[in-house]
Symmetry: C2
Subunit: 279 residues, 2 copies
């Protein structure tokens, strides 16, 4: 019997046979960070429901190409329903929506275009972006080294293995670089290899990049759009995110996810509201 990995268990969606497009799911405390459930986990959950909606059959489209999620209210541990709808079935791509509802309140609304990542693999790859230059994982900083008072607000960090580039953790000891970039390595502690749905989680696993600007408040996500550009190879992922426009209490946060072959497998941008703590 094949192993069930934690990420798949925690993002499982159960369709309701009597209600096409309606799925049951559960949000777990083990994916909480700060005040609510991690945005990337919610994106992956919606993404799994959309794969069920848009995939299937020989003409189905199971892989996210682009997904845009708007976060409407804070998600808490507990049951949720995910309602999906197909907007268009095409030859190479299909598009649908997903709505995550909890306690009668909509938590997230997403639109996404899905395709077949294997179907266009092997084409011309002219990526001019370069992977983050970091020490190997064993020389990077595990999140278990964070202060206990921070960790108790971040149970999610036990559900992933995140090792941060020491060059981008100065903020943790009161010495932010001011450059506005944080990066590190990511994998699952139980050995589950990456796939497109993991990439939807991965784009939102790093600490708020404003920490590296010396601003230590949480940064709730208003909107996040992720592009999955290729199926990731097995092994560690590298994630790097940065902001170039922190202004008026908002920031864009651009993330890149690189697989173990050095391929840029996912890119995302989110708009976040930065809570500036009172001095």
């Amino acid at each position: 019997m094949s192993q069930i990995y934690g990420f798949d268990r925690d993002t499982a969606v159960t369709p309701r046979p009597d209600a096409p497009g309606l799925h049951d799911a559960e949000l777990y405390e083990s994916w909480r960070i700060g005040m609510g459930i991690n945005g990337g986990l919610l994106l992956a959950l919606a993404g799994r429901a959309l794969a069920a909606e848009l995939g299937g059959g020989k003409d189905g489209h199971s892989d996210p190409f682009s997904i845009s999620a708007y976060y409407l209210s804070t998600s808490r541990p507990g049951p949720v329903t995910v309602r999906t709808e197909t907007l268009r079935r095409g030859r190479t791509v299909s598009t649908g929506t997903a709505s995550v509802v909890q306690d009668g309140e909509e938590r997230l609304r997403a639109i996404a275009t899905y395709g077949d990542l294997d179907g266009h693999a092997g084409g011309d790859v002219r990526t001019s972006a370069t992977p983050p230059d970091m020490p190997p994982p064993e020389s990077c900083v595990g999140t278990e080294l964070a202060p206990p008072e921070f960790l108790k607000d971040a149970p999610m960090l036990d559900s992933i293995e995140l090792r941060l580039d020491p060059g981008t953790v100065g903020w943790a000891v009161g010495a932010p670089t001011g450059r506005g970039r944080i990066q590190g390595w990511l994998r699952f502690p139980d050995g589950r290899e990456p796939d497109p749905l993991m990439l939807l989680l991965a784009v939102d696993t790093l600490p708020p990049v404003t920490f590296d600007l010396g601003i230590n408040g949480w940064a709730p996500t208003l909107e996040l759009t992720a592009h999955v550009r290729a199926k990731p190879a097995p092994g560690w992922l590298r994630i790097s995110h940065a902001t170039r426009n922190f202004a008026d209490g908002y920031m864009e946060e651009d993330a890149e996810v690189w697989d173990s072959t050095g391929r840029l497998v996912a890119q995302s941008r989110q708009l976040a509201r930065v809570r500036v703590p009172r001095p």
Copy 2:
């Protein structure tokens, strides 16, 4: 009587008093580029309908903060309906959806979060991005210099005044730089000053950036997300867009819009399918 500008005339939406959330509008040949109506024009049209939906009253939110549009089928000149729906009304932001339908087919589905750009102006601005360094508009290249066979497929270019940085038009004479960046100046020929809705158009006015990689096919947009970060000052806008991940026939295209004061007023990213012409 105050002047009606072309952009406002062409993106006007008329609500139906008997059908809340339903608006009538028209798409014009003068905004066609290649096979269909320009994606930025459609985004601005949806944006205007959303401003009507989410704005209004002292607690309304009239300014787009983030809008994500998924392009489902090619839009043609002719009447359309725009259906909007409020998902959430909040204290500082509200979120809604817009659907543009033509001839019974959905052309575009968008989600957007709106707020009050004046309400958070004057905060800390720590933009580390820098405006594009270009010659002044009078030293840049007007699109009227493009070959006639190109221009007849691009009526939109008469609806805007776009002057391209000579350093990024080598592709037009068979000498792309290979860097994957195109930039220029933008204003309306009738003198209409910029505002947030113009920014939604602006992010999609430049030629496909793949031209600068030596790839001359059209690049239809699958998805475009724009963030409006500040109200633009009067005067010319500078727009610069680039790609760093052209791969397997798709590209992300990142645009920045800067106003005349040097403020980064809008950022966008689109995922486009690049049609590689047969040799």
